[in-house]
Symmetry: C2
Subunit: 367 residues, 2 copies
Amino acid sequence: MNSPVPDLHRFADRLGRWISESGPEGDVVVTSRVRLARNVEGFPFVSRLSPERAVELSGSLQPVLTGLDLSAETHWVDILGASPVLRLLLRERHLVSRDLAPSAEERPAQPGRAVLFTHDESVSVMVNEEDHLRVQAMSAGFSVEAALLMARAVDQRIEARLRFAHTPQYGYLTCCPTNVGTGLRASVMLHLPALSLVQSERDKVFTAASRTGLAVRGLYGEGSRAFGDFYQVSNQVTLGRSEEQLVAEISEIVPAIVRFERSVRSALLEDNRAGLVDRVSRSYGVLLTSRSMPTGEALAHLSNLRLGLYLGLWSQGSLETLNRVRVQIQRGHIQALQPKQEEGPLLDSNERDRLRAAFLRQVLAAR
Amino acid sequence: MNSPVPDLHRFADRLGRWISESGPEGDVVVTSRVRLARNVEGFPFVSRLSPERAVELSGSLQPVLTGLDLSAETHWVDILGASPVLRLLLRERHLVSRDLAPSAEERPAQPGRAVLFTHDESVSVMVNEEDHLRVQAMSAGFSVEAALLMARAVDQRIEARLRFAHTPQYGYLTCCPTNVGTGLRASVMLHLPALSLVQSERDKVFTAASRTGLAVRGLYGEGSRAFGDFYQVSNQVTLGRSEEQLVAEISEIVPAIVRFERSVRSALLEDNRAGLVDRVSRSYGVLLTSRSMPTGEALAHLSNLRLGLYLGLWSQGSLETLNRVRVQIQRGHIQALQPKQEEGPLLDSNERDRLRAAFLRQVLAAR
């Protein structure tokens, strides 16, 4: 059954399980994701697609995608008709990209952009982002293979109903040449608080990863700053390799990073237990007492709590809570979690910082 | 009755009332102090006093000072025989100067240096500091006249028993020419958190004060940094004016500073109540949760609590508690407040920071 997103307040409150649950190697690998880029034969690439043809394509894809019966309930959201808060929510849930759903201050949204996602949010399909279709599958912890299985299953169901642009020589054709071939990008989100504290070690790891053709970037924040010590590792090259090869590459390097992060954590604990205890305890204190809390600072304090939890220095909350909070402190969620603010204009940043502080005090207060 | 300082642990724990009590204008003026510089006829100034003569002078002053019966119980401490912790305690209580009681890392203590103080610590007499005698009287809040009355009473009792260096033309002779005449310095300790937040306003006040011949300096910290926003205002010129004139000068400018500080507090509250609430609340959070706390940082957070208390934004403690804590977080007190550490060598700074954090958590925890 397909249905619109009914109630933004409830949507903001309940998160997909793949976000809040802790999966394999969950103390380092937060989530895994696979996306497949596909284009529909007979339509120009999105970069050359007129607004009319984009709407036409989206209109013809909607019944196909909603008819796939991917889960008991799926949601189709036309971006142009979505409220500013809903656009932010979808982005903060990793269901759509900034490109697909820009906020008003960035650039006007374009017609014919949409997303379909399953009720549990483990699968989403963006329509007319950089490619006609971007199939995404997400799962908790280190589980790239599971994500690949899900993404391929969705992809095959779609391919059974329409023709993708494909040649025997190149494989799947995509708007950007870096995606040609499998159209696959596999990525994992890592939490690396210890490596972030010892930047020389972090830089070693990142250099090694990029030598094997993987890209590493901070997940939040601009440039090299990674608020909250969250990083994304993903493959770069898709042409000339099979999907399995690509997933195998990332599956080799990630366990090495996991081991390295864990060994630095142990070393920090041994060398400066008192300093870590102080750091974790202060962050908890600030989160429980601040009355105004910007996102970047919140992520930094929450990163200290996660590290404290891993090392047995903090026990007033669970990893599931921290996973949820990581998403819900973002501005769309903070606004939608307030009564009667879901459909209004975006709040100003002072007001958001105040509400974020109140949210954190409430969620993190010891029970 | 004269007695030695019996138990450093108890001494560190109980403070003189003039420190912990809140006096007139106690939300801005923490304490008032008057000191009189005096020298004994027939002995060279301290700068030219041999160690033997210093010991001789101190030996002859001890019975005079302890015989004054300034209070039911007085304490005489010979600095050379005092433990490193006791020297720090006396300095942190403002009973002696750094010059009289240097710590081992600064320079060796010299023979013939001593201090007499009353049990309630409102009066102290340093022996062989810059002058043979420095009579100090201290009282809570804005009460320079009361301090002057006390200091003069002590001074007159001493003068009844020995001859001070004095000429009709210059008045009392002192080692440094800036003290010649009355030998009086009057000073007040001010807490100026609002003016410290608005530095342009603070600089205006300080410039005005120095034009009227008063000196302003930060009480803690080096150079222009005033940890905890505590400042001392004192008179500079002593020659050619009466004691009453000197006290009148400071008594004119201080109420103006008090009014100015209060008006900036009100303006801050009106302009940015939310920001102040956040600042106060976070400082309380950090003080209740930190596991390692350097003195400078502690003073900054405590200053925020004081400001919160003045403005009705913090109510989990009293001004008396904050007055006590201001003195007791210093390193000598932190060490002496521990069991069995009073007579040992000075603790290292990591250990002190850890103990300071524990002390603050305990004292400030809501009851």
